[in-house]
Symmetry: D3
Subunit: 239 residues, 6 copies
């Protein structure tokens, strides 16, 4: 198994459906060859075609989703527009890409837009570990919890950089205060060790709002940690 | 005639056609009431629905277009996607919103993407005053030239902030070096005096790339100068 | 009870006494109508006229003051100049606006300007929970402590953004390292629930030193949390 | 004659009158010793006490004032507050510190706050070379004009950095687009050669709005140019 | 004992050996007069001549080294170039400037460049408290550990600002995420109390990558804390 | 003739002589294959090994040097250190790499470090067109002048980005106010058409001091213009 830099898929800014088809098709082709894909966003809408591609191969997926927002809205601009960065996980549940018994969201916090935001996500099956719960039970307990929830199912990881506090990751589009620090998010990714990791995206990094490149450096470290887990898997399989 | 702050029209990021309809409809309604509209972008794609709305009332329009790019491409991502910030003036010519005998583009410069970019624009009727020509003949001569071209036709003004040099307007998405300085662009707008001004947009201001708010300050001054011309018109009509 | 956006009171940069009169008068008028006021600074000197206005209606006030500095200096530039952002709480004690038995300062830290700074504040009645004590006993214990101190007295909250660490709030005039993180300050404000909240200010936000707007976003979240507490009060009163 | 770095005078932020007295007294003492003073602001209000100190020694002064604003308002916040950065030159005329026959303002431009701003300044005696006139007649002609106006009178130079365009000097509090470029302002200062230079201030540099320190570098070069003129005077006197 | 500001030693950018000689000689002269030296970098290469100067007087030194990197590489650009900011502590061990039984490195973390980086440092004698261990055992335990290791030996402190997380110290050349926060590093420096402190450097502060001056403010606070420890030593000695 | 992206040569920060050997050797090898080299700095010291490599093939070179500084100092830190960004052109004259009859420096301006700086450069053969002269005679005359000076000799172009004003190129290490604007420098590079161009470097771009990437964008446009001249040469040769 070799790790390759695949590069950009064909993105059409003015047609999200065409972009989704292009992502699903090209990532699907890689998966067919047994290649593991690390996707770097771009906004969170790209998780939907990525989940489509991975689910096509692996069936309904366990998902561990790090974020400050549940991204399970019905729509953002009216029901004719179902695909935005606020809706991917509702669509994925509806399309049965996600196993509703193995879907965990970590770091969710307010201020919420609507009173029912968390309940809506939970009604779709999401097991939410809010930032408050995460800080109360501690990072090691969060890791244990997501291991218990996903078990040995094939698991897809979706990491929104805004799960991290704006002090550590100012370069993002919808920052939410009161989030993880850099050490905590590193621990949360390192904790994925020994899971059946089949896919990963890291989204919502937005350089114009960054400074000193600290968001980019953190994001690249997080991708490196995930890559290291894949390397460990290969090493263990060979051992 | 009163000047009012109309505010935002309904913009749907994932559906440019819906956004265009919304702009055309709401601006059209204002024009029907005899209101003069100042539109602040937003990217240059918005000029197309604005031209549709104004042309519906005034017929094929004379257009004075300040920009570093002609924005007359056939398409940017394939022919299924005709509406982007690189195409509005080709579409407007095709839809006969612009009078091809009274269409002037000022400040155009390279580096061009394709060898034929300027010829393509000229084939559509654009009379191009490149930045080189503008600096050679001087700002007063540019003003005389656009007066000669548009005469007393109803004229729509489209001002892309990237006509200005990045030293004066860093806050934009596709900056091009070697542009107008702030005094020159102010003179070019002041020179519109005594034209039959019926519409105006100022587009492509992008705050995340700005610093010290200098782009925003310049843009607001340019809108203020246009507003002052409208005030002069009213005063002259009353006099 | 409705929440209204009152806007700016009349501020005279060159005459702090005139500004104080204007703040006291206009805020006082709002309080007379039973309106709760959220004041956004501006430097910390504005707390004095705000305390005058609130004390006039509610008598000597309990005060919970989040800050890295005690702001209880005798003066900053010589005794003829008693009103600056370093002196409001000494003046308020002298004017008997604050109940010296119910005055708590949280987050105070050095480097101090003078060896006696903390003792001077304590001599005025301030019960100081330094940042060291806060971190040692934990945020929940700090919340319990301030509840014990203020009880059910009418309590005024003064929140200086420099109580937060500069990593989370760089946009301020006298940053002090080693402060609260964003989650801790959110918890400290949420902990005010069930107190007899009668007034609130949030001061010392200074945008030119900010980046990525992270200080402004944190400050607006803190004001939102306080506003939510007022909403809960109304709901409980109606229940 | 030696050049010395005098350092800060005693500034009281909350009492502009006390600050004015301190500036006038300490600068006056230096002038009494035959020392030439270069004052670096600070906002433009400091020119008034500086003019008082210099006028006390030299009598009513010729003044060359580079600025985008005339700074001759009656007041900024009501007539009880006569001393701000918008009023120093009206006060100086009223106090007969300036010779009204030798007062020239260069670079003045809009947008003006009130229709009468320029006429008010002219009524006080100011001979205004607007930025438009300066660009039309050229920098050399501006230099000739101010030489003609001030002749061999003792002349005080007041240089507001916002006379320069914000692209060259973003670090200032009230930037106005369409100003001098760096070369032009350097030429305007070099053109002071052979005048009877008796005082100089450079004001309104505001570092938090700067970037890459370009405003500070320009300002220090402008002060260096003036200093060089003083050195030339000394050399010529010795020659 | 008086504290004096010595200022810059002679630094030759193009000849690191000449710079090292200059540092060693000038700092050595100060030490001979019984003066305690606080050195502010500059990159970490300067620790080698500083250790040479201090070791010459005090013999092999105990060293407490706060950093994200061990800085014990053999070389960075080939073996002809032994002196860079990646090598000072290997050179110092080889030159027997450091007592290998009393050399502790705190805050070390990855991503490592080579698999053996930590083992190489340990083979030289370094007792490494990685950031993971520091966060697991807590700051107080780290302080106890370094007290146990260095005992009452003369101890030199080397503090690389990149031991701190980039959120708190973006202004540095090789930032590593997942580091200490500002309060923790303050506690770690305050914990040096009662050690036999003989030298201190604070290195790798790089202003162009800073914002809001937060790195500089933190660094100056850390130097102030060390200075306060020296003041306490003097006071205790006099007591 | 094909244009290829060669990438980095081996640079040793702590040994400028080793870096010079590496540049000279690797660029020399390219020139031997008839490849034209565009070198992007890095500081101006790299021009010396580049001139060595080009002179070896082409003999003593005509040089057109755009800069605010002459870079002809004897040394910067004492005579043992002859190689820095202040000395390349003196060394190149001494080593007879430059034809002293065909060496022109354009844009030179103060403030000079030493009274003799310009005379020293002229004594080496440099024909200096100061910024004052350039602005007085106009850009077209400058172009005619350098054509007259270099004629049809093989000519090497060295472009220091600080020849441009800091408003247009803040991202550089020793900015000098009062320089060319972006249009003027573009014209100066376009004016090189029809010369016998054999080498080019563009140096002193320093991203940490940049903002909005305007310096990088200008620099890449200047390299593109030079590249376009090479493309025209090829086309003309084929024609």
């Amino acid at each position: 198994l070799k790790l390759i830099d695949y590069g950009d898929v064909d993105v059409i800014p003015v047609d999200i459906r065409a972009t989704f088809q292009s992502i699903e098709k090209e990532v699907g082709a890689l998966l067919e060859h047994g290649i593991k894909v690390i996707s770097l966003g771009g906004d969170h809408s790209i998780s939907l075609p990525l989940l489509r591609a991975h689910s096509k191969k692996f069936g309904p997926l366990a998902v561990i989703h790090f974020d400050s927002h549940s991204d399970t809205w019905e729509s953002e601009y009216g029901k004719e527009y179902p695909f935005t960065h606020a809706t991917p996980f509702r669509r994925a549940i509806e399309e049965q890409l996600i196993d509703p018994n193995a879907f965990v969201q970590i770091g969710i916090r307010g201020p919420l837009y609507a009173a029912g935001d968390l309940d809506d996500a939970r009604a779709l099956g999401a097991q939410i570990i809010t930032i408050n719960e995460a800080f109360e039970i501690g990072i090691q307990s969060v890791i244990e919890k997501y291991h218990t929830i996903v078990g040995n199912r094939p698991v897809y990881i979706s990491l929104d950089i805004d799960s991290v506090d704006p002090a550590y990751a100012p370069g993002t589009g919808t920052p939410e205060v009161g989030g993880f620090n850099s050490y905590q998010i590193l621990q949360l990714i390192r904790g994925l060790k020994n899971l059946n990791l089949i896919g990963f995206d890291l989204v919502e990094v937005c350089p114009p709002y960054d400074h000193g490149e600290i968001t980019s450096i953190l994001a690249s470290n997080l991708a490196f940690e995930y890559l290291s887990l894949l390397a460990l898997q290969i090493k263990d399989n060979k051992g």
